[in-house]
Each structure stands twice: as C-alpha cells, then as structure tokens.
C-alpha cells in the first residue's frame, strides 16, 4: 500500500505540473497546445546535453535546460503560431507538426534509445520501513515549490491578474489595456517551464526518451479533460486521480494497461459531466 502512495504522489505531482501548463495556455491564450509533450522531451534531452555531454554542474544545467525549453516555446509562438492565431484547427495542427519536428530532430541528434541521467542526490529516507529515494522526494519538494510560486504569480502579480482577466473575458481585458500577445507569450513560456521542471526532475527516474513526449502529452490531455479545460485547480485534482489510478493499475493488473486508464477516464467524464470536475458548464458552451 505504501509504495502505491509514494509512487502515486510523485507521479501525481509530475502530471500536475504538465497538465497545469497545458490548462494555463488554454485558459489564457485559447491554444490547444499539442506541443506540450515536446517541451517535456526538450527539457529532458537538454538536461542530458548540458549535464552529461557538456559536463556543466547540475543546478546550472537544470536552469539552462528550463531556459532553452522556454526559448523554444516562445520561438514556436513567434515564427509560426502567431500567424494563425484565431484559427483553432490550424493552431492544433501546427503545434502537432511542431511536436513531430522536435521529436524527429531529437531522434537524429541523440539517437532513438533512451538516455539515462544519474540521480541528483544519492541515498534515501526510510518511511515506515520503506526506503524512498531522494530523487522522488526532490520531485515532490520542487513540485510543491513550483506550484506555490505559480499560485503566487497568478493570484498576486500584475501579470497573473492580466492572465486571469484574459481568461475571464478577452474583450473586456483588452479594453482595460491588457496586452494579449504579450500575455499569450508569457503564459506559453510559463507552461513550457512547468513542463520543463517536470521533465528535468523526472529524467533520472524515467530516462530521457522520445516516448516520454507522447506519454506526457497523452496524460496531460486526459487530465485537462478530466479536470475541466482551463481550470488549474481541476487539473491539480485530476492529476492525482490519474496518477494514483495508473500506479494501481500498473501494480495490480498490467503495466501495459496503464495508458488505457487515461482513455477510460476521458470517456467516462465526457459521458457523465462533459465540463470536467471543476469546469462550469456555461464555460463549455462559450469557450470550447
């Protein structure tokens, strides 16, 4: 029972970071970002590049990995997404094309096989007779710190207020003087950094792999639908539901069935409550 709790909590926090970014971009910029999984993979691979290949010290290479992930996301927005803003279908296809391009380039440069990165901290802590390695504790700590920082950003700062204004009513926010393009870019960069933090902190456990991009995207989508598109709190709750469910299925049934959990949750929630756990119904009619 305890291992399920531990693994589920780590997975839940990781998935929460991924899904909240996806949800944030949808809420603020109205972009369904299929490139979100690519950000996750970019962060893992750049960490490998800086830390292992170039031998830069760990904290510096982590920050460099996050910066490069955010930069790539902003570049994607400026060179390509900004041209098709408002055309929802083209936005989706372009972000998917971007994911494919990134994954293929990573495959060319790093090769198809997963790359391992050693744990950031050695050893572990014994909780109730079960050894929890430091990496998992690191994931939990850094996720909580990130989420707290995000909550502060969204609730207290001017940028966050502007974002919330845009999410509530785009026209009114722009009338007041919120710069929409700037907010879209900032929210995309923040979401890339969130996905990047997830990618960087999970890499020692999951290895840097190309499948990781699809795994992150698949679960991110499932969580966002389960929690309600655009709802950050809903995404947080849904991330833990899916995280624990996946671990339970993988432990007691089969690890291959892990991914089917996401689809079942999506279908059940769409039948029972299409707006998700925390989404309000009228938002579905207006936004989606």
């Amino acid at each position: 029972m305890l291992p399920i709790l531990i693994y589920g909590t780590t997975l839940g926090f990781t998935l929460a970071l991924i899904a909240i970014g996806l949800s944030l971009v949808f809420g603020v910029a109205r972009i369904i970002n299929f490139a979100h999984g690519a950000f996750f993979a970019i962060a893992s691979y750049t960490l490998y590049l800086f830390f292992i290949t170039l031998n830069i010290p760990l904290p510096v290479s982590m920050i460099l990995a996050l910066i490069s992930t955010a930069t790539i996301s902003v570049v994607m927005y400026i060179i390509s997404l900004s041209r098709v803003r408002g055309m929802e279908l083209n936005e989706m296809i372009i972000t998917l094309a971007f994911t494919i391009i990134v994954i293929e380039l990573l495959r060319i440069y790093f090769g198809p096989s997963p790359l391992g990165v050693p744990s950031f901290m050695k050893g572990g802590i014994t909780i109730a007779g079960y050894v929890v390695d430091m990496q998992r504790i690191f994931i939990v700590v850094i996720s909580i710190a990130t989420l707290a920082a995000l909550a502060f950003l969204v609730k207290k700062t001017r940028i966050g207020i502007g974002m919330r204004a845009l999410a509530q009513d785009e026209d009114a926010a722009m009338l007041i003087g919120v710069n929409r393009e700037k907010m879209c870019i900032i929210s995309l960069a923040i979401s890339a950094i969130l996905a990047g933090i997830a990618g960087v902190s999970v890499t020692p456990i999951m290895t840097a792999s190309l499948e990781g991009a699809w795994y992150a995207l698949l679960n991110g989508i499932a969580i966002v639908i389960l929690g309600g598109l655009g709802s950050l709190v809903g995404s947080l709750i849904a991330a833990f539901i899916i995280g624990y469910a996946e671990i339970i299925i993988a432990t007691y049934v089969s690890s291959h069935l892990k991914s089917i959990v996401a689809l079942i949750f999506i279908i059940v929630i769409l039948i029972l409550r299409p707006s998700g756990i925390m989404g309000r119904h009228h938002e579905i009619e207006e936004r989606v």
């Binding site: 369904i32 929802e88 494919i100 994954i103 579905i284």
Partner: protein, 347 residues
C-alpha cells in the same frame, strides 16, 4: 533606371486581362464549347485522371509501382474520409488511424481465429471497425470540436498500449499473421483504384447533399444549427460513422493484402500522413486530399533514402503549408483552371 521606366511603360500599354471562364460557361452564352479546344477544356480534367488511374498498370509494368499506387490509394481513401470530418464537419481527427487499425484487427481476428472467408471478413470487419471507433468517439461529440481532437489524438496511442496488454487476442507486438490473400498484385491495384473512384463519388455526393450542408453549418456555427431544430450530435455521429467506414475498409483491405496486422496500423505516423496529405491537397474539397495523397506517397517513395525522416518531412510540410499556403493544391488548380489571362493592348 532606364530599363525600369521602359517596363513601366510596357505595363501601361499591354495589360493582362483576366477572364473567368468558369463563370462565363455557367452564364447563358455557352461559347466555351464552340471548339474542340473548349470541349477538351471542359471534359479532359474530369475524364483524364480516372483514365490514367485505370490505365496505369499498362503504362508502367513494374509491380513495385503498382504497390506504390496501392499505398497511395489507401491514403487517398483514408484522407478523403478524413476530409468529410475535418474539412466539412470541423471535427479535426488526429487519430484517423484508429479506424484503420480497428478495421484491420477485426478483419484479421475474424479471418484467422474464426476462419471467416475473405468476402465476409472484409465487410463485417469494416462495419465492426467503424462501429467501434464511433463508439469511442461518440461521447466527445456532445461538446465542441476541440474535445474530439484531443481524444482522437489520445485514442490510437492508447490502443497501441492495450494491444500489448491483450496479447492473446491481438498477437501483441508481433501482430496476427496469415490472413487469406487469394488475389494478385494487379487485382489489388484495380480494387484499390476502383475504391478510390467510388469513395470520391460517394463522399462528394454526401458532402454536397443536404446532409453535407448541415455538416458545414455545424462546422461554421453550431448554435444556429441547434436553433434550426436540428440535433447536431446525430449528424456528427453519422458523419463519423460514414468517415470511419471508408477508413476501416482500407484497413481491412490492407490487412488482407499484407496478410498481416500489427500495432503499426494504429501508429501516429499514419494519422499525421493523412492530415498532411489533406492539407497539401486542400481541406474541404474531397478530391484535394486524394491529390495530396498521390503526390505525397510518390514523393516519399522517391525520397526513400530519407528512411526514418519521413515524419520530419511531414512535419515540415505541414508547418510551411499552414503558415504560408493554407489553401492547398486543389484550390490553386481550380483557380488557375477557371481563369486565364489575355494580353490586351491599350491605345
């Protein structure tokens, strides 16, 4: 400086007049058909492509190219069926391979495990595949298109995982071998060529009927459809099922032709290929995706040395097309077909 001045003068004196031939032909004076040239202008673009498609095995006798064209036809049917959803209904499917995979697997299970003969396994497999895919997607049709796109990306990825989980039925990673394949390569070519033409005719009929009109209305403004007293969900489910029928039919044909089904039927590369071909040919035109499919399949065969870079090629093509030329090949051809330029000397 001087030369530019001269060319300016030329532009002033010789002007290019643009005529819209199609519009004139539709107007009352049918002067277009006054000469053989004009008759050819009307008839050739409609007759020549199917003739080439049917006569191709006699022009090129290399079996390899027959196989390439079979593959192109496979993609053409799949992308035309994608177009009914993505182009006309506004439901952009990122996982059309789901239908292809279901069609292939149901056919294989019927044919190999239960010994159903080929002439029964293909229709039953097709129907079952389309029904199964529709069943998975139906819950997301109550909400707007975005949910459908999200789920359609997830579903095939999940299916690959669950194939490995239910290995005793699906054969796992190795897939199912040994489907009945009584036909020769040439016969397969003609089946596929006929299917491409038939699919085009049927889907165009559907897309431009009243039913298709409702679908386009759903794409453009769903609330107004509801206001008109039409239940959009029913129309969307029907469109999904029709589209799924064609996609799972090619899946089951492919399964019989290769005598094999495997997880590769569900791969994202197929769905992305279908989207790329549709965007290349022109979305919401039905024939456009087929043109795109033939062009892109032949192009990737030429660029065989690229190997694993095919997906990169698709991605780059998609990115460039959507940013700079979103109209697609067919609309461009249509435009140049209907207008022609005549030099008019002024003064």
């Amino acid at each position: 400086m001087k030369s530019r001045k001269e060319s300016n003068k030329n532009i002033r004196t010789i002007r290019k007049e643009r005529l819209d031939r199609g519009a004139r032909a539709r107007s009352k004076d049918l002067y277009v058909l006054m000469s053989y040239e004009d008759i050819a202008y009307v008839i050739l673009p409609r007759v020549l492509p199917p003739l080439i498609l049917l006569a191709f095995p006699f022009i090129v006798r290399d079996t390899y190219w027959h196989m390439v064209f079979f593959l192109a036809g496979y993609y053409a049917v799949a992308s035309m069926s994608w177009d009914l959803l993505g182009g006309f209904t506004g439901l952009v499917s990122f996982g059309h391979s789901l239908f292809i995979g279901f069609g292939g697997y149901f056919t294989a299970i019927l044919n190999v495990w239960y010994g159903v003969p080929i002439w029964l396994s293909i229709p039953i497999g097709t129907l079952a595949g389309a029904a199964m895919g529709t069943l998975i997607f139906a819950p997301c049709l109550r909400t707007k298109g975005v949910y459908f796109s999200l789920v359609s990306l997830v579903a095939p990825l999940v299916m690959v995982g669950s194939i490995l989980a239910f290995a005793e039925i699906t054969g796992g990673e190795e897939g199912i071998y040994g489907l009945e394949n009584p036909l020769t390569e040439l016969q397969w070519y003609y089946i596929m060529a006929g299917l491409v033409l038939l699919t085009f005719l049927i889907l165009r009929k559907i897309a431009y009927s009243n039913f298709g009109l409702v679908l386009q209305a759903i794409r453009d403004n769903e609330p107004s459809v509801k206001v008109s007293g039409i239940n959009p969900v029913r129309y969307k489910v029907t469109a999904l099922f029709i589209s799924g029928l064609f996609a799972s039919l090619v899946g089951s044909l492919q399964a019989h032709k290769l005598s094999f089904v495997g997880p590769s039927y569900f791969y994202l590369s197929i769905s992305v290929g279908i989207i790329t071909m549709s965007v290349l040919g022109g979305v919401a035109t039905i024939i456009g995706p087929a043109i795109g499919a033939y062009i892109l399949t032949i192009l990737t065969e030429w660029l065989r040395w690229l190997g694993g870079l095919r997906m990169l090629l698709y991605g780059v093509i998609l990115l460039i097309l959507l940013n700079f030329k979103p109209e697609g090949i067919y609309r461009y051809l249509e435009r140049t077909y209907q207008t022609f330029e005549r030099q008019v000397v002024e003064e």
